[in-house]
Symmetry: C2
Subunit: 442 residues, 2 copies
């Protein structure tokens, strides 16, 4: 099924979200939305969040549950237990992703996939990834508790090593080349050893290559890492897409010289040029309307002594936007302006592109389903881009994909301070439940 077909088919489902729980037939009643009666057990999700937080817990708060570590393995064991309690048939694919399956009533239909990840960055928090995984399991458990059998098979997925480069989701769609398996992950293990450690089989990765048509849709609930929902006191974010990312290594060459003996007007100071560059990037990126962001995150001056005029500076450029052509255009503008800075103080700029990812647009029909689901629950919504990468960006390559954001206080993530209010977690889970049901209702 290509995306266009899916969009057309979904169009009928939108507005039919007041499925009102069981029996499923009720989901098809048209007219003014009424509050759905099937809801997740909010206390249970939040309890599970606290329980999962034990694996890799740090004394100062948060967790370090880095992929391929013992804490990661323990967390996965815990989650697999929850999946079994939810009546899911649990397996680990060759890439090490955990999948919990439940059959649907129409064997010809391809599954609806939903989930997220439970690995964390070092010194991370308890919501990034976890909220999506535990809510997905809760959705499956709720459906089972209510005796509701979906038409499509459902599959809850826990992608492995999202934080270390969306490894599990890349493998899922066949985008993890064999040569990458020798890369060393944060755990110290290579990806190959890590996959083996999780129960996967790296030698059979090529057999895992899901394609368009294999799945009906993918939905991921995740905390919003940008703080927009929290700042604007909104309940649910409907993700329009995951931004593309461009990275450049930037080298600025001047002339290193003695800081004591070289008069100010005789200098070709690479750091002075770098200072102008950093400000210029900020100016170029903010000069036009839009939600593009541009960042200089890394800088080093050489030789790097207080008493030597820097002869070289190595720095970076990152630009993100939902529109790849905008990324490329802004980068070009930065390069042009950099050339002028160089000409002014006798330095030269060299840009080397190191990464340029495609923006991943979320499926418009799934976006509408998510919005309608939230509205049916009385929740406020906002359409927004995801500035961070997610497993969903790879799912979007082979199936209609949607992401649901719930607020993160202050937009803080990758930090022990990461926090999503219990009610916001529950809201997100209920929107996920209604979205799955609406997608299933077709």
């Amino acid at each position: 099924m290509n995306r266009r077909d899916f969009s057309l088919r979904l169009a009928g489902a939108v507005g039919a979200l007041s499925l009102g729980g069981l029996p499923p037939a009720a989901a098809h009643a048209r007219g003014r939305p009424q509050r759905p009666s099937v809801m997740v057990d909010g206390d249970r999700i939040n309890r599970h969040l606290m329980e999962l937080a034990e694996f890799g817990r740090n004394p100062y708060g948060g967790v370090s549950r880095v992929a391929y570590t013992e804490f990661d393995r323990q967390g996965r064991e815990y989650v697999m237990g929850l999946m079994r309690e939810a009546g899911l048939e649990v397996s680990i694919d060759v890439a090490g992703n955990i999948i919990g399956k439940r059959a649907g009533s129409s064997p010809a239909l391809s599954p609806i996939l939903f989930g997220s990840h439970i690995d964390s960055v070092p010194d991370g928090g308890n919501y990034d990834g976890d909220v999506g995984v535990l809510s997905s399991i809760e959705v499956a458990r709720t459906l089972r508790a209510r005796g509701h059998v979906t038409r499509h098979p459902i599959e809850v997925i826990v992608f492995q090593n999202e934080e270390g480069g969306t490894i599990g989701s890349r493998a899922f769609v066949g985008h993890l080349p064999d040569k990458d398996l020798d890369l060393v992950a944060r755990s110290g293990k290579t990806l190959r050893d890590g996959i083996r450690f999780l129960g996967g089989d790296p030698s059979r990765l090529s057999t895992l290559h899901w394609k368009t048509g294999d799945y009906t849709a993918y939905v991921e609930l995740h905390i919003e890492q940008g703080g927009t929902l929290d700042a604007e006191r909104l309940d649910i974010g409907v993700v329009e897409g995951i931004v593309g990312i461009g990275w450049w290594d930037v080298t600025i060459d001047g002339f290193g010289n003695h800081a004591g003996t070289t008069p100010m007007d005789k200098r070709r100071d690479a750091l002075l040029a770098a200072a102008k560059y950093v400000q210029m990037v900020n100016r170029v990126v903010t000069a036009e309307p839009g939600r593009q962001v541009g960042t200089v995150g890394k800088i080093q001056a050489f030789p790097g002594a207080p008493n030597v005029i820097p002869g070289q500076v190595q720095t970076t450029l990152e630009i993100r936007d939902l529109d790849k052509s905008k990324i490329v255009r802004l980068a070009q503008q930065v390069m042009d302006e950099a050339r002028k800075i160089g000409a002014e103080n006798g330095t030269t700029f060299t840009f080397r592109e190191t990464y340029l990812s495609e923006p991943a647009m979320m499926n418009p029909a799934v976006q509408k389903v998510i919005e309608a689901s939230a509205t049916s629950l009385g929740l406020s919504t906002k359409y927004l881009p995801s500035g961070a990468g997610h497993d969903a960006q790879y799912m979007a390559q082979i199936m209609p994909t949607g992401m649901i954001f719930c607020p993160s206080v202050g937009g803080i993530s990758h930090s022990p301070k990461e926090f999503t209010k219990p009610q916001d977690v529950v809201n997100g889970a209920n929107v996920l439940l209604q979205t799955v049901l609406a997608l299933d209702a077709k």
Copy 2:
């Protein structure tokens, strides 16, 4: 003898520089300067420069004759051989400095000291230090060859480890505290072990504490590391003083955050503040007339990833000037302006002074002697500060001190590209010779 006395006594000597070689009485002939007849052997100095260059020679040019290494030891052996050939009585003081002595005709007079250093930075050149040492030995050799006995004893000194913090000259005037002996030098040896390696006795350093009155004067010939003489095609620099140096460690605290999800207007980017800081330092330092210099030579952003907004930047500030109050005032201005930058983008600046050295003024009478010596040789001169530190700055604490600069092409130093034309070396050596004779003539 205090400096004032010395200045008065020297006043009579200025203008008497056409001493015209031997017999010494001729030096006292007054009237229009005539070209001195006693001159160094220029070919010999330049040949010695090339010979010394062999010890620590790098395949790509220049030398790495780092203090306390085997190459340093070999270079010192070579130089001690030259000293003996020049008729000097060679010894190594407890600090590891090499001293070559020759008695004067008036035993009551305190010695005239001249010299420099032969250690280099890693990947250094063949002129910084070497020119002064080899010219000093040549001056002694010339006097001996001409049978000229000075009134004052003369002492040629090779200070050890100038490049690693003017260690030998500091020890010479009692400014090397015992605790510093455990510092590790570039060679990997501690200063204590390095001094022992050179034949000194670190346990007896306290016995080496020359005081005001012990010496008549110190004169050092050195290449000019600033390029002013070369740019203005001048022969000789008369050094007015060695600048004071202030160093500050600067920490800028912002808020580290996800570069993808944090909108541009919600950032407290420490590197953006640092960029403004670097430009501001340049602006403040160049805003007023004078030869002060200000440099930001070191910078690092934390966490330092292309996709994270820097939460902290660690950088530096260095200001140099002949006037210490100007250094302090400019630093205060930088701190005030930094506070404004911080207030604008939600970051805070912290400055920590790590070093503040006193400017070392050269003795005005010695300066005049140097100028007159150069003029008598038909050489053009310019009064200028030394932006770099030299052993002379410690000598200036206990005796009237002067420095003679000869041009370095392009002002390049601490580099294999360091080069002083043979004739400029010879000019410097002849000015040193005439200066020593004039000082001796009182």
